[in-house]
């Protein structure tokens, strides 16, 4: 339980259904300031209050070390490698549905439940657990859950999977739960409301470098490649004729940030991608080439794609239509109707729609 409205209502619903529910708060990050205050304190206070209201015992568990070793280290490594990591995906894979699941099982739990918007169901044919989209398409979080293994999701309950977010708030209000009107958390949990650039600069050295157009023209200076991601428009500090300018690639070897003029510039579009670190929820696909839909970012509408399972264990994903600002390090997640098949990490963007011979980091050796 995070102290937010979603996990609170998840706990309440399970309790109402007759489950023997235990609330657990995870402390994953130490941001204790000089006054000994940490943001986890306030969230824990909320957990204490709502568990008291629901009438369930609550405990806290500390995963700071695991989070640092398995999520934050990955987060920094990815930025160092010029990619844009997705710590939420890694947190689900390594912490919420691993360290936490292990902890819950060691306490004798049969399942762990979270306030994620997603559904699980048993496949009548195979007996395996399927991952399904949430009923609330707008809140569906299967994108972030794409790296969970079969034995992980087999132990999971998602009580909010059939609900719309406004219904969840309404349930919380009906029961006068203390977190009913609490604001949803946004952004990366360990950065919170802080300035992203400032945060990252505490951990990684920033190397100033040139910003060039896809035609090779010098446009200005960037503060360090890690601060930019494909498709980014804000914060480039460049103007002039031909804009607005969008980030369309990075040359890590020469520390150059490439920009393209206008959102419709071909350099921002691509025809496909290569993905690695593949996870299929319910086993390998039957065919090595198949058509399905995919998301390349959270909350994006599904896009039609052709998936090729390569012999080197990676995936080649060919888009039916050109796609905009595909970003290495982010997840690509596959769907067959309501079923979320699995996902992978975007390694390389294929055929950026430009003739410029830019040595994009995206095209670094696989």
């Amino acid at each position: 339980m995070s102290g937010g409205v979603d996990s609170t209502v998840a706990a309440l619903l399970l309790k109402q259904k007759g489950y023997d529910v235990i609330g657990i708060f995870m402390k994953n990050w130490d941001d204790t300031d000089d006054n000994g205050v940490c943001t986890a304190t306030e969230d824990y206070e909320d957990v204490v209050r709502v568990c008291g209201q629901i009438g369930i015992p609550y405990y806290a568990v500390n995963f700071e070390k695991q989070y640092w070793d398995r999520v934050f280290t990955y987060f920094l490594e990815e930025y160092k490698a010029g990619r844009t990591p997705n710590p939420d995906v890694m947190c689900n894979k390594e912490i919420k549905f691993k360290a936490f699941l292990d902890h819950a099982l060691s306490l004798g739990a049969d399942y762990v439940a979270t306030g994620h918007y997603a559904r699980v169901a048993e496949d009548a044919e195979t007996g395996k657990t399927l991952m399904l989209r949430a009923a609330d398409q707008n809140k569906d979080q299967t994108y972030f859950l794409n790296q969970l293994a079969q034995d992980q999701i087999a132990k999971v309950l998602f009580p909010l999977g059939d609900l719309e977010k406004p219904e969840v708030r309404e349930i919380a209000r009906e029961h006068h739960l203390a977190t009913a009107n609490k604001k949803d958390s946004t952004g990366i949990c360990f950065i919170g409301e802080r300035n992203f650039k400032e945060f990252l600069s505490q951990y990684l050295p920033a190397n100033r470098g040139e910003i060039r157009t896809v035609d090779g023209e010098f446009k200005g200076w960037h503060d360090g490649l890690m601060y930019y991601t494909n498709g980014q428009r804000q914060g480039l500090g460049i103007g002039g004729p031909g804009g607005p300018w969008f980030v369309c690639g990075k040359d890590l070897a020469h520390n150059v940030l490439y920009v393209a003029p206008g959102a419709d510039h071909p350099a921002l579009y691509s025809q496909g991608l290569i993905a690695e670190k593949i996870n299929w929820f319910s086993g390998e696909p039957k065919d090595s080439v198949f058509h399905c839909t995919a998301k390349f970012r959270y909350r994006q509408k599904d896009r039609p794609v052709m998936v090729h399972v390569l012999e080197n264990g990676k995936l080649e994903v060919v888009f039916d239509n050109l796609e905009w600002a595909i970003t290495p390090g982010q997840a690509v997640v596959f769907y067959d109707g309501e079923v979320c098949l699995g996902g992978a990490t975007i390694a390389t963007v294929l055929n950026p729609g430009t003739d410029a011979s830019i040595d994009f980091v995206d095209s670094a050796p696989l």
Binding site: I22, F25, K27, G36, V37, C38, A40, T41, D43, Y44, V47, V48, P57, Y58, Y59, A60, V61, N62, F97, K98, L101, D102, H103, L105, S106, L107, G108, A149, D151, Q152, K155
Partner: protein, 388 residues
């Protein structure tokens, strides 16, 4: 099955006799002991009687007892009050690595005010050495604060020896006796302690009340400012019913000290014997000779303490470990870190059981069963239940 309370070092249930006296006082004594009318005199008598009873229990004089809100206030009053009153004599203070936070943080505060603090190390059993104290003692040392008995591992410090060592030195000797009072016979007449703090709720007395013994010759700068209560040492209206309850609780301890000690020793023995009989893999943390009978700190190799505490609670056994941080998670104990080193496995896998006089032998047998079973389950689930 009713849950079993084995966390008396955190706080203890109130004795029914104490509660009765408090309720009676709440009902019948309405005055302020500082008032000059009959109501005031009635309240004053309650406070004085309690003070007399308490003074007797440690061989002190009535005027040497200052009522406080409990251990934390007593520790702060003693340490900060002594430091402020004596800073002309020096700014050096000695304490230990295993103190309660009430002492630690009062000392840290003084460090931020320009005092210099030295911390005595402890051995693996949690005891300081007199040699180190002698080494660290300086001409300008104004205060030495060493806890009587440790709240986490139960180790008793050589209080008498320290007191005698300091008898000819300008440094005052303060001891935090919060955990030890109730199962240790203490006497400030033959042990020259200058300041001794205790708290009511650890001895089946009321919460929010305690006392600080201040030797007659010692003057403290007050840390709260207001009325002239407690000979200007502690401003604020007396909590008369709680003081009455504290007096009664102390009187009961005094009358039953041997029984209290023997009960705890017996419960402790049962726990250890049962765990051994169950084949549990454990070691006792603390000093095998100098220990508080009610505190039993056990190291279970390979068992994650957060899982152990949670499971025990779910099974109906209330125990404890280290201290919780403000976000609820268990922080490694500074006491075990001081004894074993901060990276030692003991700091992550040790459990504190603390017994009380109302615990029954049957409860301890049951608790030992549950504990042994849980430890067994946790030493294996780490592998069996793990998700790849």
């Amino acid at each position: 099955m009713d849950p079993i309370y084995l966390d008396h070092a955190a706080t203890s249930p109130i004795d029914p006799q104490v509660l009765e006296i408090m309720i009676d006082t709440y009902k019948k004594v309405i005055g302020n002991p500082e008032s000059i009318h009959s109501f005031g005199r009635q309240a004053r008598k309650v406070v004085d009687d309690a003070r007399h009873e308490i003074a007797k229990s440690i061989g002190a004089r009535s005027r040497e007892i200052v009522f406080t809100s409990g251990g934390t206030e007593g520790d702060n009053m003693a340490i900060i009050g002594a430091a402020r009153a004596r800073q002309a004599l020096g700014k050096h203070i000695i304490t230990t690595d295993v103190e309660h936070h009430a002492v630690f943080r009062a000392c840290e505060y003084l460090a931020s005010c320009g005092f210099s603090i030295d911390y005595l190390h402890v051995d693996a059993s949690g005891r300081i050495s007199l040699e180190e104290l002698e080494e660290k003692l300086r001409e300008d040392t104004i205060l030495v604060s060493v806890m009587y008995g440790n709240n986490e591992v139960g180790t008793l410090q050589p209080i008498r020896e320290i007191a005698h060592l300091l008898a000819d030195h300008q440094a005052l000797f303060h001891t935090d006796a919060v955990q030890a009072f109730g199962t240790v016979d203490m006497d400030v007449k033959d042990t020259p302690i200058d300041l001794l703090s205790m708290s009511g709720h650890k001895i089946n007395g009321p919460k929010g009340i305690g006392f600080l013994y201040v030797r007659d010759s010692v003057s403290l700068a007050p840390i709260t400012h207001g009325g002239d209560q407690e000979r200007k040492r502690r401003a604020g209206t007396h909590n008369v019913p709680a003081i009455a309850g504290l007096g009664e609780a102390v009187a009961l301890v005094r009358a039953n000290l041997t029984d209290r000690i023997n009960t705890c020793l017996k419960l402790r023995r049962i726990m250890l014997d049962d765990l051994t009989a169950e084949g549990a893999n454990f070691q006792v943390n603390g000093n095998p000779e100098h220990f508080l009978p009610q505190v039993l700190n056990l190291y279970f190799p390979g068992v994650a303490i957060e899982s152990l505490l949670t499971r025990l609670d779910l099974e109906g056994v209330a125990a404890s470990s280290g201290s919780a941080c403000t976000a609820g998670s268990v922080e490694p104990s500074h006491v075990l870190s001081a004894m074993f080193g901060s990276d030692a496995p003991e700091t992550r896998s040790s459990l504190r059981l603390s017994f009380g006089v109302e615990n029954t032998e049957d409860e301890i047998h049951r608790a030992a069963q549950i504990l042994a079973k849980t430890v067994r389950a946790l030493s294996t689930t780490g592998k069996a239940g793990e998700i790849k």
